[in-house]
């Protein structure tokens, strides 16, 4: 169920990227796309009935069934990268607002053509 939902989230993110003309909302759509992608990558490694991939005094043996830890390690770094790219995109959006006094891509494009 949650794997299908993650693909639907990615599609909604692409829809927002194509439809919206506001820069802030385009970045929001990019974030929705990223959340969907992260959920999909984690769901690839899910084992039903498995335990979380940490050895503790309760789950103390490597012979138990564990969830795949590799996709989780990839997503862990991907989330932090996501914050970096979002911050950079927002900084560029702020510079554009200072230069054109608008956030709408149609208005900004129209100014250049005049």
């Amino acid at each position: 169920m949650i794997q299908y939902v993650s693909i639907v989230l990615m599609l909604i993110g692409i829809y927002g990227l194509l439809i919206d003309r506001n820069i802030i909302k385009i970045i929001v759509a990019l974030n929705i796309f990223e959340v969907g992608l992260n959920i999909f990558i984690v769901s690839v490694g899910f084992v039903s009935g498995g335990v979380a991939p940490i050895l503790t005094s309760v789950n103390s043996n490597s012979a138990l069934i564990y969830v795949d830890p590799l996709p989780q390690a990839l997503v862990l770094t991907s989330i932090v990268i996501g914050l970096g790219t979002t911050a950079l995109a927002l900084a560029i959006a702020r510079k554009m607002y200072n230069a054109y006094n608008s956030l709408d891509l149609d208005e900004i494009g129209g100014m250049d053509n005049d």
């Binding site: 490597s62 795949d68 770094t77």
Partner: protein, 248 residues
């Protein structure tokens, strides 16, 4: 009109994604993954280079990586070079934000005034949040968490101080110092591993018994460094975003 075209396009795209993924025999269904066919099996029994049958918490010692948290053992030991590149990407993005917004002028002002409860409560809560962040990245090899969430918690503690007090300014020079110190020490540890055992970022220390605080060789050291670096970089990004234009 455009909306309809986009919806048709997305329908086609969704059809190809769903049919491409779920008709592929190599793609196992959700929840039916067999780890014995995957590379992660080697990570779980900790036998990538050594042959190893079973790992027991609190008993097994001197394995190739002594981390009880498997995700940490992948992030900081097996794929540590990847993490070094990732930290570099974060550094470049924080540098880009500083270049784009740093020219606005250094004045930090809010358009609102914090109320009494926020001002008093922030002083009490700030040490607790910072302590939780430090705890999380020191225990990264035993409990969930690690350098990335721990560093972000430190950055969010600084954010709380910014919100509570409009005259507060983080001492960015010490954060910059911590960041460059942590980054260069990470690379130096990698080069030391290259010199002593022949591989960049090799775990050259004794890994100890699984489950102890002082175990897992270089993993806690590297994760503390990653936590400091991520925390200082995110604090820098937040400080840059709070800058307002002084005059046009």
């Amino acid at each position: 009109m455009k909306r309809i075209a986009v919806i048709i396009l997305l329908g086609v795209l969704g059809f190809f994604i769903f049919s491409g993924i779920y008709s592929n025999e190599a793609f196992t269904e959700f929840g039916n993954v067999d780890l014995n066919n995957r590379v992660s099996n080697k990570f779980i029994t900790k036998s990538v280079t050594d042959e190893n049958d079973i790992v027991e918490f609190g008993k097994s010692s001197n394995l190739e990586t002594g981390s009880a948290n498997y995700v940490t053992s992948i992030v900081v030991n097996y794929r540590s070079f990847d993490t070094l590149g990732e930290v570099t990407v974060l550094f470049i993005s924080s540098l880009g934000v500083a270049l784009l917004l740093g020219t606005l002028g250094g004045k930090l002002t809010h358009k609102y005034r914090a109320n009494f409860i926020l001002r008093v409560g922030a002083k009490t809560i700030f040490p607790l949040i910072a302590l939780t962040g430090i705890y999380i990245f020191i225990h990264g090899h035993l409990t969930p968490g690690g350098g990335f969430p721990g560093g972000s918690m430190i950055a969010s503690a600084v954010l709380l101080l910014y919100l509570a007090d409009e005259n507060f300014r983080a001492k960015m020079s010490s954060f910059k110092l911590a960041e460059s110190f942590a980054g260069s020490l990470y690379v130096l540890i990698g080069i030391f591993g290259l010199l002593t055992s022949g591989y960049f970022l090799n775990n050259f220390m004794n890994t100890g018994v699984i489950g102890d605080l002082f175990s897992a060789g270089i993993i806690p050291i590297v994760y503390v460094l990653v936590g400091l670096k991520v925390g200082s970089e995110l604090t820098g990004i937040i400080t840059d975003f709070l800058k307002v234009e002084v005059d046009e």
